[in-house]
């Protein structure tokens, strides 16, 4: 970058944190502005199996994160697994069809190109920064370099939030019920009882149901919790 621009972003984030005005929305807005992309989102890994979102800049990126949660495949998941950036400059016509279940819905929602960068601090993988463009095309070299830097800024910001949180609690910036899909985990707990299966299997059932019915997993889970929907054996 524009090293000075990046330094400005770091300083702004520090100031906002000091003024207790920091939020996931501000961090994500900073990513979109600094990287000159259509939208950006941040995903966190929870243990080995679960994923949560920190938030997204618009409905399209929120849909992408939801699809990745439901399907268990996608650029964020690949970048976390490999520790390497994932670049798909033409999602509708990829060289290798990495995410056949995800691509059609994402393209339909307006995603022409999608990219994901690992969020790693001091060798510890925390999650991923995902970006999308409404136009087909590679990231420019400076955008690519800036995205790697921003992923580092994101990781340090997340740790700074958590460092300020009271002992034993989750930083308020990260404790967002919708982003963490808490209702899906409630539904998993309920299904594990009604179907007599493990929690992990119950989560798989909710995901499979949402995919098969072409429905939002959050809506499916909310219907399970309120008793509107009964998923049977």
């Amino acid at each position: 970058m524009r090293v000075s621009a990046l330094a400005d972003i770091r300083r702004d984030l520090d100031r906002e944190r000091d003024a207790a005005g920091s939020s996931a929305a501000l961090l994500i807005a900073a990513c979109v502005a600094a990287l000159d992309v259509t939208g950006a989102g941040i995903m966190v890994m929870i243990g080995r199996g679960h994923r949560g979102s920190v938030g997204g800049s618009d409905d399209v990126i929120r849909l992408i994160e939801e699809l990745q949660f439901t399907l268990g495949v996608g650029p964020c998941i690949d970048t976390c697994r490999t520790g390497l950036p994932v670049l798909e400059p033409d999602l509708a016509h990829p060289v290798t069809d990495r995410w056949p279940e995800l691509a059609p819905s994402a393209v339909e929602a307006g995603v022409a190109a999608i990219f994901a960068f690992p969020v790693v601090v001091g060798g510890i993988g925390l999650g991923a920064l995902d970006l999308y463009q409404s136009e087909i095309g590679d990231l420019r070299p400076e955008q690519y370099a800036d995205a790697i830097e921003m992923a580092d800024v994101v990781g340090r910001e997340i740790l700074a939030w958590q460092a300020d949180a009271p002992a034993g609690t989750l930083a308020s910036e990260l404790d967002q019920p919708e982003s963490l899909r808490l209702v899906v985990h409630q539904a998993s707990g309920m299904l594990s009882v009604s179907l007599g299966i493990s929690i992990e299997d119950a989560l798989m059932r909710v995901r499979a149901y949402a995919y098969a019915e072409h429905r939002s997993i959050d809506d499916v889970a909310a219907d399970v919790v309120t008793g509107v929907l009964v998923i049977e054996r």
Partner: protein, 246 residues
């Protein structure tokens, strides 16, 4: 001393090398202390680091050095103490004339056969983490190039130590982040289990879990984990909450 430049470069490489892999602070600083004695016109070298605002002796080139450093810490007086407190270089080319500045240390140093003492701070910007201390049996000053080289060595070690501390701190916070995120999920799963078993709403299920935790002096997370791993029966949790208190 013909090959001083070579030895100096080698020392930097050696220190840099130890900073990369398994970082052992004592090991790095012990190497540094022995190299100072080889490189500079001094007889003893030692390093002290502050922990919670108090200096601690970490590395010394000899027993004499170690004894004097411990003496300084105990009496809170001497070149290392001044250097750490002010974050500035300390030079005293005749310790016999420093009894006013260091009444107890000067006497002790002379008893140990020390004539002159020097110290450079281990400092990065406004953060001083310790000091590098150099002693000589004779009197007289240290050359400017020795001072500069000693400061450069202290700087390299300081950066390595601060970086290492940051990595350790990040690991701790990342661990806390993971367990906080995990608890969030386990508590929701447990709410679902209680709700499906009893017909309570999610909110009521949460309150029942919290009541049970309070009444049994358990953490909410322990109750939730018990429910999810099926080591704690839902009826037990909800049943007790109906009988004991609000």
């Amino acid at each position: 001393m013909a090959d001083r430049e070579t030895l100096l470069s080698e020392t930097f490489v050696e220190i840099a090398d130890t900073l990369v892999d398994e970082f052992d602070v004592v090991d790095v600083l012990t190497t540094l202390a022995s190299r100072c004695v080889a490189l500079f016109d001094v007889d003893e070298a030692g390093l002290m680091l502050a922990a919670a605002g108090r200096l601690q002796v970490v590395a010394s080139s000899s027993h004499t050095m170690r004894s004097l450093e411990l003496f300084e810490v105990r009496h809170d007086e001497g070149p290392c103490v001044d250097c750490y407190r002010d974050g500035l270089r300390v030079e005293c080319d005749d310790v016999g004339k420093a009894q006013e500045r260091w009444p107890t240390f000067a006497v002790e140093a002379m008893k140990a056969g020390i004539g002159s003492v020097f110290a450079v701070p281990m400092r990065l910007r406004d953060q001083t983490i310790g000091s590098l201390n150099l002693l000589r049996s004779g009197t007289g000053g240290l050359t400017e190039s020795d001072f500069a080289a000693a400061q450069a060595m202290a700087d390299v070690a300081t950066i390595g130590i601060l970086q290492h501390r940051l990595v350790v701190e990040h690991k701790v916070i990342a661990g806390q982040l993971q367990s906080a995120l995990q608890s969030r999920i386990v508590i929701e799963q447990a709410k679902g289990i209680v709700g499906a078993t009893t017909g309570l709403t999610m909110e009521e299920s949460f309150l029942a879990m919290r009541r049970f935790a309070r009444n049994h002096n358990l953490k909410l997370m322990e109750v939730a984990t018990g429910l999810v791993t099926r080591t704690l029966a839902t009826q037990h949790v909800v049943g007790s909450s109906r009988h004991i208190g609000p």
